[in-house]
């Protein structure tokens, strides 16, 4: 599939169909995959595809706003939801983007894999998708790991293994299910069962570690405000000091701002350097939005996120 991808990118860059293409390349070690911006045909051979191509690249399309031409990018089915929302929320014209859809049969959660293998990802030299399992190479030895052990949480409930909106596609995969011992909202429900004070204590303890590096915000497709409320100095709504009180406000404001727009891509939790389980927070929002508004973000073009929309007969008991 990599050959096909590289050929396609060479062709599209050659035609002038796009200014650059955003995909994945290997980083400083084999298990470390990072974004790859291909501006010249000669660099297309760096592009790779596999179960460690984790990052949702959609945020980068916003950079195309300043370009005359288009940008192309490799889009997994889950990440396509961000494209849909960005277009729906009028952040980018769909025709500024060349979407190359890629069939995906599940992504590895490196933290889970390290636990299962008992070694650092540094020692993993290759991960190959083999249907129900991954073939993992460590120090020359290949071992088989059942997907249920090491998949990213979101992959268990994958609805679009192939991008459903694409200009080019590298293939199709059939929707699949991976048996899991837990249900989608188990972790959220466990927290919901806690008394309010304990629930708050849980989150305060998590937020206490926050160093306010803003990585969760910067990687989030939905954080596109020209001036973020956290950066405003006059008035200053939130201080930059990573004190517990400020950290709590930071995360709760961000959560509320993303309610109904979060597409559960899991990037906030993945990039967090101090392992705050943000996915759990956003999963709760997703659950509430589904229950209250019967809405799931990024699934189709012709609906509007409930909290950015209104109807004249909306209930407004709080006014």
């Amino acid at each position: 599939m990599e050959d096909k991808l590289q050929e396609l990118v060479v062709e599209l860059l050659g035609d002038g169909a796009m200014e650059y293409f955003i995909g994945y390349r290997q980083g400083f070690e084999p298990s470390h995959v990072v974004p790859c911006f291909v501006t010249d045909k000669s660099e297309a051979d760096r592009l790779i595809w596999g179960p460690l191509c984790l990052q949702n690249l959609s945020k980068y399309v916003l950079q195309a706003r300043d370009l005359d031409g288009k940008v192309g990018l490799l889009v997994k089915g889950c990440d396509a939801r961000a494209i849909v929302e960005l277009v729906k929320q009028h952040q980018i014209e769909r025709d500024k983007i060349v979407v190359v859809g890629v069939p995906c049969e599940g992504q590895v959660d490196p933290r889970k894999m390290e636990q299962v293998l008992g070694v650092s990802m540094e020692q993993v030299t290759d991960v190959e998708d083999a249907g129900d399992e991954f073939l993992v190479k460590v120090g020359g030895e290949v071992s088989k790991l059942g997907k249920e052990q090491v998949l990213r949480d979101k992959c268990f409930y994958c609805k679009h293994p192939t991008s459903f909106d694409y200009d080019y596609t590298l293939g199709e995969v059939q929707p699949f299910t991976i048996d899991s011992e837990s249900e989608e909202y188990d972790a959220v429900e466990k927290l919901e069962e806690l008394p309010l004070e304990e629930r708050r204590a849980y989150w305060l303890k998590q937020f206490e570690r926050c160093i306010r590096c803003n990585a969760c915000r910067e990687v989030c497709y939905g954080c596109y405000c020209k001036e973020c409320i956290f950066d405003r100095t006059d008035p200053r709504w939130l201080d930059r000091t990573p004190l517990p009180r400020e950290n709590e406000i930071y995360h709760l404001i961000r959560a509320v701002h993303l309610a109904g727009r979060c597409i559960d891509c899991g990037e906030c939790e993945r990039v967090c350097p101090v392992n705050i389980p943000l996915g759990r927070l956003y999963k709760k929002l997703q659950k509430d939005i589904a229950e209250l508004f019967d809405y799931e973000a990024g699934m189709e073009y012709d609906t509007v996120p409930p909290l950015v929309d209104f109807e004249l007969d909306d209930q407004d008991p709080f006014l």
Binding site: I211, N214, T241, N275
Partner: protein
Amino acid sequence: MDRKKISKADLGRWLDTIAGKYELIGPTEDEGIIQFGPVQSSAELTLEYANSLIPPKSLFFPPVESLFAFRKRGEEIQLEETKPLQQDRVIFGIRNCDVGSLSLLDRVFCDDLEDSYYRERRERTTLIALACPTPPRSSCFCTTFGIDPLSPAGSDILLTDVGDVYLVDAVTDKGEELVALGEGLFAPLTEGEEKELQPPPVDMPQLDVRELRERLEALWEDEYWEKLSLPCLGCGICTYVCPTCHCFDISDVGSTSDGVRYRCWDSCMYSDFALMVSGENPRPTKRERTRNRYFHKFSTFPSRYGTGYACVGCARCLVHCPGGVEITEVIKDISAKEGVSDR
């Protein structure tokens, strides 16, 4: 002081003795993260670590700290300076890249306008460095910047794991005081051991940085910075995990009659870092901010302070950058850049 040894079984006893007299700080693991933090006993420490996520610069220049409290009483305003430390401290387990970073930070904070908070923390802290495990992590490149992961330079004591025992090199008076606390736990090396007990040599990729500064300075206007900054997300991870970054913000928390002036880490990668109230921004895009960061490391810091490069090869930014901006690649790119004269 001559090299000594301490058995692995006795290390904990020694550290516990230290903890009785000093605040003991060392590597601990919480939620899967290695961090340096205060411990009551050596049992809380972990020895299974390559390095901490947040560099121990945080123990000298904390992510957030109170500078002073202010209180309005009638017409008067009272300021109360915050004492940075309650007790003398011992940091166990610091790695040599981070020891190296402290000598760079010293140049910033202990120049002729001395930062008394940093200074007090430095003076009242004894460093027990722990030589790095072999082989090092694949990302490490400290030797590129002249750091020897097996040297006691910059610390007070170096411990080197050679199997059943640690070799102990106390190289300062502060270090010898700590060794003296562990009476009976340390033994001199026999002649045979002197030769036999040696750590395996460290093998690490070495980058060519001989002309890095000159070549970089020739690239100020180059289009390279535009391309390099494309995958940068504009978060602050690289600067917060960097042991040599020292940018900070100062802000007041509280009311005008009662509050605290804090300083906290800030990041030159943030879009509003240099934004002026007039709306002007000397580093308006990721291009200028990325360029500024690498210039700071490899050109302006060395030029200002007369030091080597302001990077110690700890590779934290390399590992944690969510956009995959890799400092090792930047160094290689600059070295390989055509049209830049080889002087």
